[in-house]
Symmetry: none
DNA sequence: CTAATTTATGGGTAATAGTGGGTGATAATC
DNA sequence: GATTATCACCCACTATTACCCATAAATTAG
C-alpha cells in the first residue's frame, strides 16, 4: 500500500453544518490504531494542526516528562493541551471542527489543508497567502542553516 | 537488466484524461520497493520534479528531523511537502499529474521528460527552450566552481 | 524479413470522493 | 416536563478517479 504519511495540498469548504472534509488520502494514511480519529489543536501559526491519534499520544508522553513545578513547563503543557480535541470523522470522511479553533485560524468558509508528513495544517486561504508573502520568506542563509541542521543530526 | 538510474530525454503529450506516459526505461529503473510509484512535486525552476518513492522517503526522513517549534523549520518543511504527491502509474505506465503542478510548470499539452540520474524533470517544451537559451548558460567560472565542489566532497 | 512482444495512446465502466441534506437520539433550556 | 438546539448517523446525487480492455506504432527476436 502507498505511503503512510501526509503530503499535498487540498482545498475544501465548510458546509452549512460546520463540517469539513478530510482528504481521502489522509484518511487512508491513518494507522488502524488511530480509529478514524484525528486530534486537532491550535497551531503556532494562525492555523489549526491535526495529528493522528497515535502521534498525539506520543506528544502527550513528551508532555508528561515536563515538570509540574516549573511555571514555564506548566504554561507550555497547558497551552498544548487546552485546545486539543479528538475528532472522529463520519462515514463520509468529515469532521466538525470546534468553533474556537476556527476562530483562532480565522476560518469562515474555505480551508486549505496541507500535509506535513506527520501532521496536518488547516488554513484560511487568504491568511495562508499572506503568510507566504511575508512570514514564510526564507532567504539563502536560512535555507543553508536548515540544510546543515538536517545533515548534522 | 539495465541501469537503475534515470537518463535521457523523452517527449510525450497529456491525453484527454490528463494522463502522461512515463518512459518505460524509467519505470524499469524503479526499485521494487517503490511499488510503481513516483512522487512528484514543484521544481525550483518552472518545472515538475519526480522522485522514486524510495528517494522521497529519504527526503521525508530528513524533514522529520526539523523542529516543529522553529518557524523557519516549519516553513521549510511546509514548502517541501505541500506540493508533493505520490503517483502510482496504471497498467499502461501512465500517471495523472495534479493540476496545480501542471500550472506551476506551464504545461498544457506537450511535455519533455528528462532523466537526471536520481530524479526526473518534467518540462513544457517551450519553457525549457527558453531556459536553455538564457538561464542555463554556464560560463567557465561556473564550471570551475562545480569542479571544485565535486572534488571536495 | 517476418512474427512476437513491448510501448504509447485512446476510451468504457465501475468504484470512490466530495457535497448536500434528512431524521432520530441526546442534551440543554425554559 | 415540554421545547428547542445539537449532534451522530444515514441516505442520495454528481464529478472524478481507478481499473480494465483495445488498438496502432515501434521495437525486439527468430
Amino acid at each position: 500500500m502507498g505511503t503512510k504519511t501526509f503530503t499535498g495540498e487540498f482545498r475544501y469548504s465548510i458546509d452549512s453544518k460546520g463540517r469539513v472534509n478530510i482528504p481521502a488520502k489522509f484518511r487512508k494514511a491513518l494507522p488502524e490504531t488511530s480509529e478514524d480519529t484525528f486530534v486537532v489543536t491550535r497551531g503556532l501559526d494562525e492555523n489549526i494542526i491535526a495529528y493522528s491519534l497515535d502521534k498525539w499520544q506520543q506528544i502527550e508522553e513528551e508532555l508528561l516528562k515536563l515538570s509540574s513545578r516549573l511555571p514555564g513547563h506548566r504554561a507550555y503543557k497547558r497551552q498544548a493541551t487546552r485546545f486539543a480535541s479528538p475528532l472522529k470523522f463520519d462515514s463520509q470522511g468529515r469532521v466538525a471542527i470546534p468553533a474556537n479553533l476556527l476562530q483562532h485560524a480565522g476560518i469562515e468558509k474555505d480551508v486549505v489543508i496541507i500535509g506535513m508528513i506527520d501532521e496536518i495544517e488547516i488554513w484560511d486561504p487568504e491568511i495562508l497567502k499572506r503568510y507566504e508573502e511575508t512570514v514564510f520568506q526564507l532567504d539563502a542563509e536560512d535555507i543553508e542553516a536548515i540544510d546543515n541542521y538536517t545533515r548534522s543530526s
